[in-house]
Every structure is written in structure tokens, then in C-alpha cells.
């Protein structure tokens, strides 16, 4: 069993080394870093699916929330926007609190049987909507009109970017708590569709609330937790290090060094999360989760609070996805809401979990690494494949250009084939759960 795992991991490592040798170490490190982020997301989904059997297809939403948190925590504050819009925002927030307070008050004052309960709530909701809209819409207009080319949003809090990772986990966990409260009572297929919808709404908010996230105009230049290349090449210790190692191209060395720093950070986070997941799996809590997964009714009959456990595991898994999203935004140095599509951010993660072996953390990590590797490397392979197919056609023929243009979509094709094959011939994945 362990031998089998070691062999599979070795093959993956060799594949990455091959990329380094043939395509350059910079590309290899890039792929490695994104593999680690994918592995962490896969761990999050594995906790929900493998431990508890929750079918969450809203991964994209929680990753995006994590990425948004990075912007809100680490970007510098846009002073002018706060000066202009601070009052409006405060008033909108106060009216939100007031409305929630009044709704709770009215609902607790009126007895359950009262005929006015629902109408009163709806009336209060309408009043609240109008009131908040009255303060809020002009405020967002003002924020978006301040220097729209460079900022046009509120900015963040200007805190260190590493701090945003745990906060991203908390934000995603909080969102998961809210969502879980509403949707975890649903049956499996309903839950899938509900989470799919919620992730769509989260993306819509990140995409279109420009005062918050700059929307489709993207936030770039997110501060880094690691040194910048331009500063690095001037540092004396770095120059002497390159001399010591005998490296001539110092710019290339600086870029490699930066990526290596990211790798160390990411692997550390992965190790921490993996350690906690493994510990949780071995603990009585993990046994209880597996009992619930395998037979919900029996577990409930044994006095386990199944719904509370589902909510717990849903929050934990989503929080991990949020951390992964934050790491991704930090690594890319930007927030690009338009790039969040379900195939890449939700369903691809599912392919990772299923391929690796649901319920097994080592499997989830392996799945994350392998699938991300293929996702990136299939494009050159697809190009090569298409050029072989079209070798007998003339260079300018319509079919040849068409096929070569479609080559990048062979990755969708391959992911589909992998998922179908795994489900058919190895439904337990590469490393089955014990």
C-alpha cells in the first residue's frame, strides 16, 4: 500500500523534473506551485466529499471569495474614496442593521399564529431594500467615479498579504455557514444545484460590484509575501549567492528564487492543512464522519447530530478552498473575476478528488498535482497532436487552422475521459481510502 503510494508520487515528481529539463525550470516551478494550490483545494473538497459525502459544486465561489479577501486585506486603502463615500457606506450599513433588528423584533413580538407575521416581514424587507438603495447606490456611483482608470474602488486595508490567507479561510467559512444553514437540509442532487447557484451568485457579485472589487477591470499589483526580482538582483547577499553557485544569468536566478519562496510557503500551508486533516480523520471525530457518510440513518440512531456535523464539515472544507483561492490570487498578483468559470474552478477540482481517491488526503493531493500538471501540459501536447493530424493538409487549409485553433480544448476532452475512465474502472481512485 505505502509502496504503491511512493511509486505514484515518484512518477509525478519525475514528470515535473522532465518539464524542468525540457521546458525550463521557471515553467516547472510555476506548474509545481499551482499544483500545490490545486492540491489544497482538492483537500478541501475531499474533506466534504470523502469524509462526509457532501456533493459541493460551489468550489468556485469559495475560491473567489478567498481571492477577494486578499484584495480587501492587502491592497492599499483608497483614501479619497473613503472620504467621499464613508458616510454613505456607514448609513447603508446602519440601515441594514436597523432593518435586520426590526425584522427580528417584529417576528419575535408577533405570535407564530399571527396573520400579520409574513406581510409585516415582507413590508419591512421592502422598506429596507428602498432605504439601503437610497443611501447605497449614489455612494457606489461616487466610489466608482474616483479615478476609474487606476482605482475606482475602496481599496483594501493595507495589511500584510500573508495575514489575508487565514482571513480568507474565515470569510469563506462564514459564507459556508450561511449557505450551509439554508441548503444542507436538501437532498444530494438539490445540494449540488444549490451550491452551483450560490457560486454563480458569488462570482456575479465579485464581477459586477465594482466599488468593492473593481469587477472586470481587475485588481493588479497585489503585494507579495516574497521579495521582488528587481530588488533581489541588487542585494549583495543574493549576488554573492549566485557567484557561489556559479550562475551567470542573475535575472533568471532571481525569478527562480522568487518562485522557490512561493513553493516553500505553499508547501508549508499544505503540510499544516494535511496534518490537521489526517489527525481529524484518525480521531473519533473522523470515525464519526465516516459512519455518517456510510450510513446516515444508523449514525443518527446512535445519537449523532448529523446535520450539525454536515454543517461543520461543509464550513471546514469551504474555508480550505477559500485559503487556496487567496493563495492563488497572491501568487498571480491579481484578481481577475472574469477568469472564474465553473469548469476550471469547480469541476476540475472534482476530477482531482475522484482521480486521487475520495476519502484519502494523500490521494486528493496526488490528484490535484496530476490533474493540474495535465491541464497545463496537455495544451502543448494537443498542439503537437493536431499538427501531426494536419501534417498532410496544406498549411493554409481551413480545416487545419480550425483544428489547430481547437487544440487547447483537448484539455476538456482529456479531463472528461479521465473522469469517465476512473469512475468506470477505478471508482476508488489511485490511492483508495483505507
Amino acid at each position: 500500500m505505502t509502496k504503491h503510494v511512493t511509486i505514484v508520487y515518484c512518477i509525478t515528481a519525475i514528470a515535473l523534473l522532465a518539464v524542468g529539463l525540457f521546458q525550463g525550470w521557471s515553467i516547472a516551478l510555476n506548474i509545481f506551485n499551482l499544483c500545490i494550490i490545486s492540491a489544497i483545494t482538492a483537500l478541501g473538497v475531499n474533506i466534504q466529499w470523502g469524509y462526509a459525502g457532501l456533493f459541493n459544486v460551489g468550489v468556485m465561489g469559495f475560491t473567489a471569495l478567498g481571492a477577494l479577501t486578499v484584495v480587501l486585506v492587502s491592497m492599499p486603502k483608497v483614501q479619497q474614496a473613503w472620504l467621499v463615500a464613508g458616510n454613505g457606506l456607514a448609513l447603508s450599513f446602519l440601515s441594514l442593521i436597523a432593518i435586520v433588528f426590526f425584522i427580528i423584533l417584529v417576528r419575535s413580538l408577533l405570535p407564530l399564529t399571527s396573520r400579520f407575521r409574513l406581510p409585516a416581514t415582507i413590508a419591512l424587507l421592502v422598506i429596507g431594500y428602498l432605504l439601503i438603495g437610497h443611501f447605497f447606490l449614489p455612494t457606489t456611483k461616487k466610489i466608482e467615479s474616483i479615478n476609474p482608470i487606476l482605482s475606482g474602488y475602496l481599496g483594501g486595508m493595507g495589511l500584510p498579504v500573508l495575514l489575508s490567507w487565514p482571513i480568507a479561510g474565515m470569510v469563506a467559512g462564514l459564507a459556508a455557514w450561511l449557505i450551509g444553514k439554508v441548503s444542507l437540509g436538501l437532498r444530494a442532487d438539490y445540494l449540488a444545484i444549490a451550491t452551483l447557484g450560490i457560486s454563480d451568485i458569488i462570482i456575479a457579485i465579485v464581477k459586477y460590484e465594482e466599488w468593492l472589487s473593481r469587477g472586470v477591470r481587475n485588481v493588479t499589483g497585489i503585494p507579495r509575501p516574497v521579495p521582488y526580482e528587481v530588488n533581489l538582483v541588487d542585494l549583495s547577499w543574493f549576488i554573492s549567492l549566485t557567484h557561489f553557485l556559479g550562475i551567470i544569468d542573475i535575472n533568471n536566478a532571481a525569478s527562480l528564487f522568487v518562485k522557490l519562496c512561493y513553493s516553500i510557503l505553499f508547501v508549508t500551508v499544505l503540510a499544516i492543512i494535511l496534518w490537521f486533516s489526517e489527525m481529524a480523520l484518525k480521531s473519533p471525530w473522523g470515525r464519526m464522519m465516516r459512519a455518517i457518510r456510510d450510513n446516515r440513518d444508523a449514525a443518527e440512531a446512535m445519537g449523532k447530530d448529523v446535520n450539525a456535523r454536515y454543517l461543520q464539515v461543509f464550513i471546514l472544507g469551504c474555508a480550505i478552498c477559500g485559503v487556496a483561492g487567496a493563495m492563488l490570487a497572491t501568487f498571480e498578483g491579481q484578481l481577475t473575476p472574469a477568469s472564474y468559470i465553473p469548469l476550471r474552478f469547480t469541476f476540475l477540482i472534482w476530477v482531482m478528488v475522484i482521480l486521487g481517491g475520495s476519502g484519502n488526503n494523500w490521494g486528493a493531493i496526488l490528484g490535484g498535482v496530476i490533474i493540474w500538471f495535465l491541464w497545463v501540459e496537455v495544451e502543448p501536447m494537443g498542439n503537437w497532436f493536431m499538427s501531426i493530424i494536419t501534417i498532410n493538409l496544406s498549411k493554409n487549409s481551413a480545416i487545419a487552422t480550425h483544428l489547430i485553433a481547437g487544440a487547447s480544448y483537448t484539455r476538456y476532452l482529456l479531463m472528461g475521459i479521465i473522469l469517465l475512465l476512473v469512475m468506470r474502472f477505478a471508482p476508488k481512485g489511485i490511492i483508495p481510502a483505507r
Partner: protein, 336 residues
Amino acid sequence: MEIANAFALLTNFVILPAITYGAQLSLGALGVTIVFGILRFANFSHGELMSFGAMVTILTTHLLQTKGVSISPMPTALLALPAGILATIVIALLEDQIIFRFYRKNRSTPITFTIVSVGLMFFMAGLIRIIIGPNEHNFADGARFLISFRDFKAITGLDQGIAIRQTQLITLLVTLIVVISLFWFIYKTRWGKAMRAYSDNEDLALLSGINPERVVLIAWIIAGTLACIAGTLYSLDKIYKPFIFMQIMLPVFAATIIGGIGQPLGAVFGGFVVAFSEVTVTYSFKKFLAYLGPTNWEPEGLVQLLSTDYKYAVSFLVLILVLLVRPTGLIPGKTI
């Protein structure tokens, strides 16, 4: 006159688009609901099936156009539709025989089926993008308008016109024909009854000598036909783009659940509920209210509940509302 203007405005920008969109969603939701009723899983690859059908129809249309075949003023796509339907049925049956049949024999859980359908979705998405490319395709030809905006204004003398596009009328007519024949099939024919029996109680249906493989076959034929028609009508009315069929899954699923999963009538109803809420919630009622209110008065702001950016999110909000009030959908039950 003011009232007539207000309603002309509302008809043109809310009622007509919502009815057309509702019809397209209903056809999509009917396919999902029939697969759910017979095979008992949420088919995530249904959107790609719609996309595939539309794609074959588009390619056939282009072929016919280059051959000079045309049924002007009707769009050539109508002539190409049967080819699309045939191809979609073939693909649906292949999917079933090669992929889903195995899990049916093993009596796998619905969630296994759903994950498999995700794999199929990936595969089909890749296949479609390789064949037709990821870009937009506009293939509507023939006459564009039945009544143009200007003609309507000239005839009625109103300030606001109602433009009826040809594709809107085609959508409605085709949907009507398809839905009526589907209901006739399900409720009047022998195999329709067999399907309902199978959906209601699988074991009892088996005992009565109903061949399950035959029922599943018919379900896929119906689902394929509906998917192709829905995909074609949607892209004919708006535009064809492979990515849209990923986004449209949400409203389609919402319509299915709102109507009650496995309920054909509910799917049609749910489609219209979703379409009307999407259009009305994101429409700005400013001009409409200005016509109804006193002269020279205009409401402040756009009088729009949600910005149009949240179009796809609305279907989901409606879904949540329905699930909170009636968890089994508006027409409860799980039979087709």
C-alpha cells in the same frame, strides 16, 4: 393613450422576451426532468447536449446555405433542425449505451450518475469546442421581423412600438407543438404510460412486464430531441456560443426544481416562472411608470430591482424562495 403606450412598452421589453425565453427554458427543463424521472439523476451534461444539437443544426444550416437551399422568409435552420435532432438522439443513445448503462446495471447511487455526467460534460464541452470553435455563431437568416417597431407605431399611432421578431414566433410555435405532442405521448400512448409507471415505481413496472431498457431508450430519445430543439431555438433567437450552455444550466435546473423534479407540466411552468422573474426583476420600470403617472413626471432612479448583471443569479434566488416555501416544487411528486 398613456396606458396603451405603457403596455406596449411592457409587452415589447418584458412580456415578449420573457415568453420566448420561458419557452426555451421549458424545453431544456423538460429534458432534464424526463431523464430525472426515468434514470433518477441530475444530468449535468444536458446543457452540452443542447449545445451539441444546436451545433449540428448550425453546421447543417451552413451546408444548406452554401448549396443555395433556402426556405425564405423562414430561417434555413428549421430545415436543418431534423438533422440536428437525429444527431443529438444518436449521441444521447451512445452516451447511454457506452457510459450510463454500466451504472444502471450496477444499480449505482444517483450521485455516481451525477459525477459521471460531469465527466461527460467535460468531454462534450471539449468535443464541441474542437469541432465548431469557442466563438459566436449567428445563423439566423430569412426575414427578421414579423412586425417591426416602426410599422407597429405607424399602424397604431402609439409612441411605443412592439417589435415581433420571427424567431420569437417560431420559438413559441415549435414549443407549443413539441409540448403538446410530448404530453400526448406521455399520457395517451402505451409507451408513455409505461414510462410513467416505470418512473412511479420501478419494481412494480418490471413486474408488469415493462422492458426497462426500452423505457430508458425512449427517455433518451425524448431528452435528445428536446435538448436539440431547445438549444437551436435559444441560439436562433439570441446567439450560439458554446460557453452560454454552461451558464444556462442554472436557470434550466432552477426551472426543473421549481416545477417539481420529474414533473413535465411543472418543468414547463417552472421555465416560465424563471424567465418572467429574470426579465421583470432586471427590467428598469422607469419609463413604464412615467407613462402611468401624471404628465411630466418621472420616477427617480431606474426603478430596477436588480442590475441586469445579476440575470443568471435571479433564477437561483427564485429557486431558494420556492425551496423554502415548498421544498418539493410547485407541483410535488417524482413521477413523469
